[in-house]
Subunit: 423 residues, 2 copies
């Protein structure tokens, strides 16, 4: 791992809407940490072996900040149902199957490999409530080279007959899971109340204490769907807004990621900004299960941290390139809904959200900043026709829009080469 | 071609929202015409060779009723621009390259093959204004097995310096093109004013007479974008609505397809219904170039004929499976915009639009009706994980949502086998 030199057209997103481009440049990392991007090979590396990818694009590997691992087998199903019906008819029965460790092993091995083949090297991911399956998921991610956070889901109410814990079970299994997963290096635990309707107040209180005591990050769902919002208010008559049901139990801080945020109003958005909570925009899922269209431009303008997620299996693709173009399309639908009053996301902005903003949750600087852990992918777009000699920016845009099976040639995660198309 | 017997799980769309399913059944055609779908092989075919695709899905091959062949090389580019700027910056310069027959040959061969590999066997397609390139396009489509209509584009104003004809050139080249393309069997000519702003009144009048005299179908664009609509009203102060600029020149009848129809109001929709004009919904393009979200449910409810198109390169995919799921997603965005007042499209409805409604423009009955020309594809979805034993309807839904490179195993067009994954 000592020295990595990648040669190609290096593109990174150092700020929202900005791209840094070095054509036929060198991306260099030492001991897994980025040294820099150079137009010519610095003298001190003369003679060192470089992996030369010709004119292929070298991009930051994106981060998927919200997906449900046990829903991977049901991608693209039941989309004619709204969220709560879809959960009961499809998601819960599918998740219940992960009581079986063999099934978990089969699915999670494939999921982990598929993530890496799609260039996704960082995740915040929901498992199911099953402790063993969650450990298997973490093992398979670690083995494949996916890094980030995984949560054993907590749900002690409003589940399904075969997909619910008692409060005591949830507490005991969560504690045992935390003990058992302490040896993973790249995949770490995350406190994961499924969403407010799934957790009793007692369980929420326990999870808040746990996050504080052990300094753990938190993930959950927020204001995805109007019916869900109404239900939450019924369950917590003391809270005027959804976010308060998390805040009152200590689950609302700078290490919290909240998926969706479609229906957050100004006050809820301000609460996110003030606490440093990260909003995970999942455009594909929001459209598929008819949740609505999140006000991403407004969130950004108001200073809320926004990242992207696929939300498999509300989303129907693992590709964060797809997620970026979906985010652009959603922002354009939103623009129409807002009477053209909000700007849509540019390709450079969407890619920033997928790559740099996602990595920021893991303590990284934007782009290929020196000191960042090396997370990169090589994308060979040479099979596409070219109407004229393209700029690197145009090439990046096409990579977001046009699906190119097999175009990702190699992937690095936390400094390690974890995928090569020749494998 | 005499007898074709395909065995598999046959799914067809006999009516909007309805699916006919015959598991491990037989789709039979004689002399290229569908005889029927049978759960067991009828005695009269005993001993005849069947192509057995096991449990794979046998579906109607879809029809793409709107795309721009010369924009194929620029798929997924310039999407940060609105329609009129995008045309000037990307589409027109790219189309201008098709003055070169060699470039046309290279691009159109690949386009034709790519369409067939995606299962699309029928099209209504725009070429560029170039007569020779249009003939090359028709040749390549015919060779690959794509059937339908192609139009040499007419544009004698508001083009680009190297992409515009005089009225005389447009008339002369169109007449010559019609002579030269008379020998194609499966690909026929279609009268194609680019859109109202591109054609002088004199040219429009000529095209209307031409369509009437030679009994030719017509394709153009309608009410795609608000700026475009305003421009049309400026150009035709005598017309209160966009559609009237076509109607007054005889370009508005039961053999007319109009792409987009995003901003058609009630009166314009009624004019479509009354004349039997077909609306081509291009959801992906409408979102990409920020046109808006077409009111598909309303169009359907009011009895307008609605079909689907990819609108490459406003759209970023040639796949009509993608177009169907995009239509569903767009209908869900529309539902939100309509304050939940309009139903979204179900998977069965979207597939009906992509397959049966599209084929209806070519005189076909819905589904695999006896007498229909055999247009079918075989899709092997066995690589996907299955959370439970899936119904055929669930399998079809997943095929619309989840991109499965290489899953289309074989394609028939007008009775001929035109694609086999082993090729």
């Amino acid at each position: 791992m000592a020295l990595t030199i990648l040669k190609g057209t290096v593109i990174s997103a150092p700020a929202l809407g900005k791209l840094d481009v070095t054509e036929r440049g060198y991306l260099i990392a030492e001991e897994g940490k980025v040294t820099g991007v150079f137009p010519v090979l610095p003298k001190r590396y003369a003679g060192a072996a470089a992996e030369d990818f010709g004119d292929a694009l070298i991009l930051q590997a994106p981060a998927d900040l919200h997906l449900h691992a046990p829903q991977y087998p049901m991608m693209g199903m039941g989309m004619d149902l709204p969220l709560l019906d879809w959960l009961n008819t499809y998601a819960f029965p599918t998740e219940a199957r992960f009581a079986d460790p063999d099934y978990a092993r089969e699915v999670y091995r494939r999921l982990a490999q598929d993530l890496i083949a799609n260039g996704t090297t960082r995740v915040c991911m929901f498992s199911s409530l099953h402790r063993r399956a969650t450990l298997i998921l973490m093992e398979e991610l670690e083995k494949a080279g996916v890094t980030g956070y995984v949560g054993k889901v907590n749900m002690d109410r409003n589940g399904a007959p075969n997909l619910q814990e008692t409060t005591e079970e949830s507490v005991a299994e969560t504690l045992r899971w935390l003990e058992e997963c302490s040896d993973f290096r790249y995949v770490r635990p995350m406190v994961t109340p499924r969403f407010t309707p799934s957790c009793t107040n007692e369980l929420m209180a326990f999870l808040g204490r746990l996050a504080a005591e052990r300094n753990l990050p938190v993930q959950s769902h927020l204001s995805e769907n109007t019916a869900e919002g109404a239900w939450v208010r019924e369950l917590h008559p003391d809270c005027t807004q959804y976010w308060e049901t998390y805040a009152k139990y200590g689950l609302w801080n700078g290490r919290t990621v909240m998926a969706h945020c479609v229906w957050c109003d100004e006050r809820e958005r301000r609460a996110m900004k003030d606490a440093g909570v990260t909003a995970v925009h999942c455009p594909d899922s929001n459209q598929n299960i008819c949740s609505g269209v999140a006000p991403v431009r407004v969130l950004l303008r108001e200073g809320v941290k926004v990242v992207l997620g696929t939300d498999v299996a509300g989303g129907d693709t693992l590709s964060m390139l797809d997620a970026a173009s979906s985010a652009i399309r959603a922002s354009k639908a939103r623009r129409v809904m807002d009477n053209w009053g909000t700007d849509f996301l540019s390709a450079a902005e969407a890619w920033y959200l997928a790559a740099s903003a996602g990595a920021a949750f893991f303590g990284q600087q934007p782009g290929f900043a020196p000191g960042n852990s090396l997370h990169a992918l090589v994308l060979d777009d040479s099979r596409l026709l070219q109407p004229h000699p393209l700029t690197p920016e145009e090439r990046l845009e096409r990579c977001l829009y046009v699906r190119q099976p097999g175009a990702i040639r190699a992937v690095w995660s936390a400094g390690r080469k974890v995928f090569s198309a020749e494998d």
